[in-house]
């Protein structure tokens, strides 16, 4: 077979393209198979285009409150089409950027549907033609797609998933968003802030249910203040799409309720793309929709690896990329440390932003720790006051016995850029002491982390 590679990666998302580049850096001959856009969901339909929309929304919000900053604005309008266009443009630029990186690293791009086959072969089908490629190693990084609930079948018009939500032809007047994880609340913030009437329906008692309860409560307060309608412990039992709009039936603890809207966004999680890619043919083991791998992302079949959204662990771009590097370095004979899944930050980019790493207060208690908790509200921060961003707080959790930094939970302006401090400090096995004694510059939002740690240790100056 002429087409022989050291490594073939199926899927070009932040798992796949990073794996390919790292392998190429380590001297391997590499190809990437991609059936849709280079860069995967993350660059084309996930992380990046949503952040572009959210930036438009936050600029629009500043304009709406311009007089607070000593600026008079006569007349402003959110141009929905313009925002969508900008977002698609940013996604495009980033996708081209990855194409450039792949070329620069001499990685072949095999466009088409990839499938693993016997004897370490990958078949690529495009336009009805199938080619075979041999490889010493294969990494599967085919990522995910919107999960569908039985009562909420996505039709792409009135009941939509995230793709349609970021490319609608016109702005809906009323929207029901089902699910309040990161994707749900990001779209909720975006649409609400540009004038759509938004209702969030969440099955659990709290919105952003994976976060610390205090964070959920703050976001609830903030979102209500922004004018959203929020229903928790609630479930969509059916959607009637026969008329001009939708009639959504929601079951709550108080009974059933009907909500009318133009569009229902289903944001209830992600399913994995593991069907029809040959796993059964070669015998790759899966478990509840995920491919089973070891600490270095080896499947049960020698030479076949899997990373990203299709393996256990949180479905996040930075996790996919980290797994990619560990997988490839190990494959190439280096000795990377396994990923510490206990130290992975999660971010949500609505306003106020949320960022957290480590255990929630509840999880720490359930794990049997005796804890010290510290909190610092941005309302007491000089920089937050100066910036007009005094909503939110920092919450830190320490083990009372050894001083380990068990968890850090932030909600407020710009906190997604502040959580790295906690990740790095935890990686370096800090205790609270070092954070208090590291000089945080004044005036910054990041000082609030130090202030919260001081609070945990009973030494808060600014409270």
């Amino acid at each position: 077979m002429a087409n022989k590679y050291d490594l073939i990666v199926i899927g070009s998302g932040p798992g796949g393209y990073v794996a390919a580049i790292r392998a190429s850096q380590l001297g391997k001959k590499v190809a990437v198979v991609e059936k849709a856009e280079i860069g995967g969901i993350c660059l084309n339909w996930g992380c990046i285009p949503t952040k572009a929309l959210l930036k438009s929304a936050s600029v629009f919000e500043y304009i709406s409150h311009a007089e607070n900053y000593g600026i008079t604005v006569k007349d402003s309008k959110a141009d929905f089409g313009g925002m969508i266009k900008r977002s698609r443009g940013v996604a495009d630029t980033m996708s081209k950027g990855v194409q450039f990186l792949l070329k620069k690293n001499k990685i072949d791009q095999l466009l088409g549907f990839g499938k693993v086959a016997a004897n370490k072969t990958v078949t690529v089908t495009a336009d009805g033609k199938t080619e075979s490629y041999a490889a010493d190693n294969i990494i599967i990084a085919t990522g995910g797609r919107s999960r569908e609930l039985p009562n909420l079948p996505i039709d792409g018009k009135k009941i939509i998933g995230y793709r349609e939500a970021m490319s609608l032809p016109k702005q809906p007047k009323k929207m029901v968003i089902v699910g309040s994880g990161a994707i749900g609340v990001e779209f909720a913030y975006f649409y609400n802030s540009i004038g759509t009437e938004v209702t969030i329906v969440e099955y659990m008692p709290n919105i952003v249910p994976v976060e610390d309860e205090d964070i959920s409560k703050q976001l609830l307060r903030s979102f209500k203040k922004q004018g959203m309608n929020i229903m928790t412990e609630a479930e969509v039992t059916s959607v009637d799409t026969k008329g001009t709009g939708c009639k959504v039936t929601v079951k709550t603890k108080k009974g059933e309720e009907q909500i009318e809207c133009d569009i229902v966004l289903s944001a209830v999680g992600v399913s994995t793309n593991i069907e029809g890619i040959g796993l059964e043919d070669v015998g790759v083991m899966t478990d509840r929709g995920k491919i089973v791998v070891d600490d270095y992302y080896k499947t049960n079949i020698p030479g076949i690896y899997a990373i990203g959204d299709i393996v256990h662990g949180p479905a996040l771009a930075h996790v996919s990329s980290a797994e990619a590097i560990i997988c490839v370095e190990k494959m190439c004979g280096e000795s990377p440390e396994p990923l510490d899944y206990g130290n992975i930050p999660g971010c949500t980019y609505c306003t106020p932003e949320i960022a957290s790493v480590g255990m929630t207060e509840k999880a720490a208690k359930e794990a049997g720790y005796e804890i010290k908790v510290g909190k610092f509200p941005f309302s007491a921060s000089g920089k937050a006051q100066a910036g007009g961003n005094s909503e939110g707080f920092v919450k830190v959790i320490f083990d009372a016995k050894y001083g380990e930094w068990l968890g850090c939970h932030l909600i407020g302006a710009g906190v997604t850029d502040m959580i790295a401090e906690a990740v790095v400090a935890r990686k370096l096995e800090t205790t609270g002491h070092e954070i208090m004694k590291a000089i945080h510059p004044h005036p910054t939002m990041s000082e609030a982390i130090k202030d919260a740690v001081e609070d945990a240790y009973g030494e808060a100056i600014h409270l």
């Binding site: 440390e337 050894y402 001083g403 380990e404 096995e429 800090t430 205790t431 002491h433 070092e434």
Partner: protein
């Protein structure tokens, strides 16, 4: 207050490791004798807790 201490061998230990060492009454000599599993042999929380567990000193509650 946990100060960042240096070992006699000159090895660097993380603040968390040093706190555990102090809390559990482990000697610097014992610590210096430990082989770490971290990057470049660094002694991590995991390694020191393993030592604590193996010794089970009086004040250690499982």
């Amino acid at each position: 207050k946990p100060a960042v201490q240096k070992s006699e061998s000159g090895r660097f230990y993380s603040p968390l490791v040093m706190t555990i060492v102090r809390e559990e009454g482990i000697s610097m000599k014992e610590l210096d004798g430990l082989t770490g599993t971290g990057h470049d042999g660094r002694v991590t929380k995991k390694d020191i807790l393993a030592l604590v567990r193996s010794k089970r000193p009086k004040n250690y509650v499982d």
